[in-house]
């Protein structure tokens, strides 16, 4: 199935909504006005290579862009760092690159009509908007990585959730911060005090950790197994249910994609 067919599918379902999320969710296939006019010369193929969607879609009928938006809102609302969606980003960025090449070719083609230029402009705008989400997603992760850099360097599980580039930056940044603190404070203190890993009693740890007790709004995408709340009572969420709970309670549900954070 290619993007165009996928778009037809969605259009047929009448999924287009007026608000931003709804529009953006249906946007990516929209960009694919590949049949505007035949491509001049041996340019890159106008038809995107058929993407094996089965690989990308954990739940059926969710487009890559819908997935991206879900991961983006999850990441923005989550106090912890979620697993990186490298494959999804690569798919989307590749798609955008192919499209901008196509757009470039069409724009330079003198035979492109006025009407088609309008459509090209729409496609470009939509591309900018998708890029905005990708950018926001990356920056959100980046913000958290800076914040918890020193914790990340000590936590193997968290490191597995990062991309190679993110991991490198985390260790670089942890180093930069350590050195900065050393130069400003620690080197002037008596040697006995010049450590960054004190574990004094009754004092919070020196390493900033994600606060998993922070409450989050959670929206059940399907019927979820029972979870235990901190006061001992159980919460069973049916599909569509929204609650406000501490993050650690539903951490596993988020990881399995049964709920989304809103």
């Amino acid at each position: 199935m290619n993007w165009d067919e996928e778009y037809d599918l969605i259009a047929a379902k009448g999924a287009a909504a007026n608000h931003f999320i709804g529009r953006a969710r249906n946007a990516l296939p929209d960009d694919d006005d590949f049949e505007i006019s035949p491509l001049p010369g041996p340019g890159p193929s106008a038809q995107p290579a058929a993407v094996p969607l089965g690989l990308l879609l954990p739940t059926e009928d969710e487009t890559p862009l819908q997935q991206l938006i879900r991961h983006w809102t999850n990441e923005r609302n989550c106090p912890d760092i979620l697993p990186a969606q490298e494959e999804l980003l690569v798919t989307i960025l590749d798609h955008i690159r192919r499209q901008s090449q196509t757009v470039q070719l069409l724009r330079e083609d003198a035979s492109t009509s006025e009407d088609e230029h309008v459509r090209i402009m729409l496609a470009q705008t939509e591309m900018e908007r998708v890029k905005f989400i990708v950018r926001s997603y990356i920056r959100t992760r980046h913000y958290k990585i800076d914040r918890y850099a020193r914790f990340i360097t000590t936590n193997a599980e968290l490191q597995r959730r990062l991309t190679g580039g993110e991991r490198e930056h985390a260790s670089r940044y942890a180093n930069i911060l350590d050195r900065h603190l050393f130069k400003c404070v620690l080197q002037s203190l008596p040697p006995a005090q010049a450590h960054l890993d004190d574990t004094a009693a009754f004092v919070p740890s020196m390493i900033t950790q994600p606060d998993k007790t922070r409450p989050v709004f959670v929206h059940a995408l399907q019927d979820c197994p029972r979870v235990r709340l901190p006061d001992g009572t159980a919460l069973e969420m049916r599909k569509g249910h929204i609650s406000l709970v501490p993050y650690h309670v539903i951490e596993n549900l988020v990881a399995r994609g049964e709920v989304e954070l809103v």
């Binding site: 960025l93 690159r97 908007r129 980046h142 911060l177 404070v185």
Partner: protein
């Protein structure tokens, strides 16, 4: 300053500065004098603790008081510096990673300690490495406050910024002029305050 100061009084002042900085949303001048006096206090405390630590038997109450003061002072010092680096990072991102833009601002530069300038430089280098992982398609430094609604933007030039390469060819942006240009081409200039959207 009176000599009957309590342990940790200076550190409280320092943390108070961080707090003020958060509340007023301003990066205050680096308080070198205060940091130095706290470090001096730390050394004095350490000296006072040494003979007490050599005593036999359970730790003397005086030692516990001093140790607590030492720990607290240290945490306050670190918190002050970390708070500042957090602000520096926010500042860095707010101008889209234009480091020269921050460092050429004399007023701002005056508030930074030399170590903080180094910190910014190193951070910038690390970000540039990270950024190069992404293709040219996506500039991760661009603004993320407003989703783009249009491809083009009508902008007014607030400060001269010379020749800029745009979709329409090279344009010389001079103060007071207005242009209709592709947003992606000049987004960073808006962020840095050279252009204003009309």
């Amino acid at each position: 300053m009176s000599e009957t100061r309590q342990y940790g009084e200076l550190a409280t002042q320092l943390v108070l500065e961080s707090r003020r900085s958060t509340q007023t949303d301003i990066l205050l001048k680096y308080n070198d004098a205060l940091v130095r006096s706290i470090i001096r206090e730390q050394r004095d405390l350490e000296k006072a603790a040494e003979p007490l630590a050599l005593l036999d038997g359970p730790p003397a109450p005086a030692l516990i008081v001093i140790e607590t003061a030492i720990n607290r002072n240290k945490r306050c010092l670190l918190a002050y510096h970390t708070h500042r680096t957090d602000r520096l990072r926010d500042m860095y991102w707010a101008v889209g990673g234009a480091l020269p833009h921050i460092l050429s601002n004399q007023e701002l530069r005056g508030r930074l300690s030399p170590h903080e300038v180094d910190f910014l430089r190193e951070y910038h280098a690390s970000i540039m490495d990270f950024r190069s992982d992404f293709s040219d398609e996506l500039d991760i430094m661009a603004s993320i406050t407003q989703p783009p609604k249009d491809l083009h933007a009508l902008v007014q030039v607030v400060r001269d910024c010379g020749w800029i390469q745009t979709e329409l060819g090279n344009i010389n942006f001079r103060k007071g002029e207005r242009f209709m240009v592709r947003r992606a081409d000049i987004e960073h200039l808006i962020v840095q305050g050279y252009l204003e959207e009309v």
